[in-house]
Symmetry: C2
Subunit: 339 residues, 2 copies
């Protein structure tokens, strides 16, 4: 087995925008396995927007990432060596190994390492449509938006790992799916490949009023369920098009430059339209993951749930790929391929 | 019986602030009763903030009040003459008679006229704690905030007809009740008469940050349930003090001067604290009124649910009393006494 490992550490906190200087690639020896431990070689790293929040030292729902440690993150890989009876060398596994080539995991810790079947589902899909992003989409749509057949569901960042699944699950439930994405290429993918009924390129609209007019055309009966990944102007526009008793799953909200929050322009619409809005974090609802993963895995295996991936190559490319994700340069799920 | 009636009509829509010029007192003959109709003499008119919204010609959850017609509003009174078998002269009734001395009501129309028992509950209380404001408080607290014993519940406009009931119902459920009100007199009433654990005078705070610091002192364990009657700076401050998984019942939101909405400064807190926020209008939940009125009526009859009234005298005083309500000059439930 290998005895050297390479890791990417967070070495400083961003002042405003994150940069490559906040990260450092370091080499570290791999410790010998203790009883109960499993050594995993990572094949793919997952890059996700939530990681930007961990880089800050601010009060949030998550602990800040400590300086001088390996960045947190989801990983898929293969077991190299196991001293735990539940795992054997050669097993495909999904875990939270972080930005590094190998991880040593306590095989008995709940939820830390899960064996997965790659017969019908490709290994990296367990970081996307059949992983945390997919379950996030499933939870917000089914547990918060809870649309009936015939309802209209809208979702922002619709070409992304979460948004793309939201619209496809909505379509499978007999809903009209309206996406919002940045760029004509992404919008074409959302309608032509993912099967949404419509997609609006928000970059073609310079203010919420213009975007709202486009939404009205794409959702002529109004919006009943909205899955929010971005906030800001997009949320302002969508609120004006929500039907009475509409339901909003709040999954992600960007900030303006330098981390200053973007205000919500017309909060009175929440009252006037008697909306329900709920923020959520999918890792706090682990009891529903099996049900979600069963639907998602089945749909991917059957070729009914589609997605796209942007794949960076090699551990050293991770910081640049992550910064690109924050700027929306990825197209679908952003991964780093290590093996 | 009397054959003359006096009414207050809406004759123009406000440009910005409402004024007495938007209203006009007119005399109108009382029509003869048709079969099935009931003539009610109003003893008290209810004045409520929602009426301001009806004065506008804007898209809202309610139809605008048509110009040249009697202002809408809740009323309690006594039946003068009845041509409907369910009502008899002398019955005490609550209805939606509007800003006038008499109303002619279809006795068979669902929910238009309800006989009430004034043995243990005073007649005007059916416009307040045992009426629409009381049910509004009950609905938002029990169906949206849904606090457990030991939780902290906060409410704005805490000395008002709705807010005062929210806190007392929360106390009855074993919660800590924190009020927010405008003025030291109102705050003293909220704690000393209504039994809240604490009350903050928002007028002592010039920004959300200062108000948030006072809230932190009044709610040292954070806020689990919030009943919002005002919005603006108060909501901005409360959001910073909400506990994870907190629940917000959105009942009222003022606008800034000239009807311009007041933005919500930090919407990302809704996500970070995984809050649920829901707007509601109590008239859309009529199926729960009997349960609510049973608790409220019992509590008032037993002397356990307290409230205060501000009473204007005579129909002609109604517009001024209403404008005073919009400026917070009332103390508790604003009524107009006609008889």
């Amino acid at each position: 087995m290998s005895t050297a490992n390479r890791q990417i550490h967070l070495v400083s906190r961003p002042q405003g925008e994150a940069s490559v200087d906040n990260f450092k690639l370091v080499e570290a020896p791999l410790p010998a396995l203790a009883d109960g431990q499993v050594l995993v070689r990572h094949h793919y790293l997952s890059l996700d927007p939530y990681m930007r929040g961990r880089m800050n030292d601010a009060k949030s729902y998550a602990q800040p990432q400590p300086l001088g440690t390996t960045m947190i993150g989801g990983t898929v890989g293969v077991v190299v060596e196991s001293r735990h009876p539940s795992f054997a060398a050669g097993d495909s596994v999904v875990g939270m190994g972080g930005w590094q080539e190998y991880s040593v995991v306590d095989g008995g810790a709940a939820g830390m390492l899960r064996r997965v079947d790659t017969t019908h589902v490709p290994l990296p899909a367990y970081l996307g449509a059949v992983g945390m992003p997919g379950v996030t989409a499933w939870y917000g749509l089914t547990q918060i938006c809870a649309p009936k057949a015939g309802a209209t569901v809208a979702v922002s960042a619709a070409s992304g790992a979460v948004g793309g699944v939201v619209g496809q699950l909505a379509k499978a439930r007999g809903c009209r799916a309206v996406g919002i994405a940045g760029g004509t290429g992404k919008c074409r993918f959302v309608t032509d490949e993912l099967g949404f009924d419509a997609c609006i390129d928000y970059k073609q609209h310079r203010d919420a009023k213009s975007l709202a007019a486009a939404l009205k055309e794409a959702a002529p009966n109004g919006i009943d369920g909205y899955f929010e990944n971005v906030g800001g102007m997009v949320l302002d526009a969508v609120l004006t098009q929500m039907n009475a008793f509409g339901r909003i799953a709040l999954c992600g909200m960007i900030s303006g430059y330098d981390g200053v929050p973007i205000p919500l322009s017309q909060p009175q619409l929440l009252l006037q339209s008697r909306l329900l809005l709920q923020g959520f974090i999918v890792s706090e609802h682990m009891q529903l993951w099996p049900e979600a993963l069963k639907e998602l895995g089945g749909a991917v295996a059957a070729g009914k749930l589609k997605y796209r991936e942007t794949i960076a190559e090699g551990l050293a490319a991770t910081p640049e790929a992550f910064l690109g994700l924050l700027k929306g340069r990825n197209f679908g799920k952003q991964l780093v391929k290590l093996v």
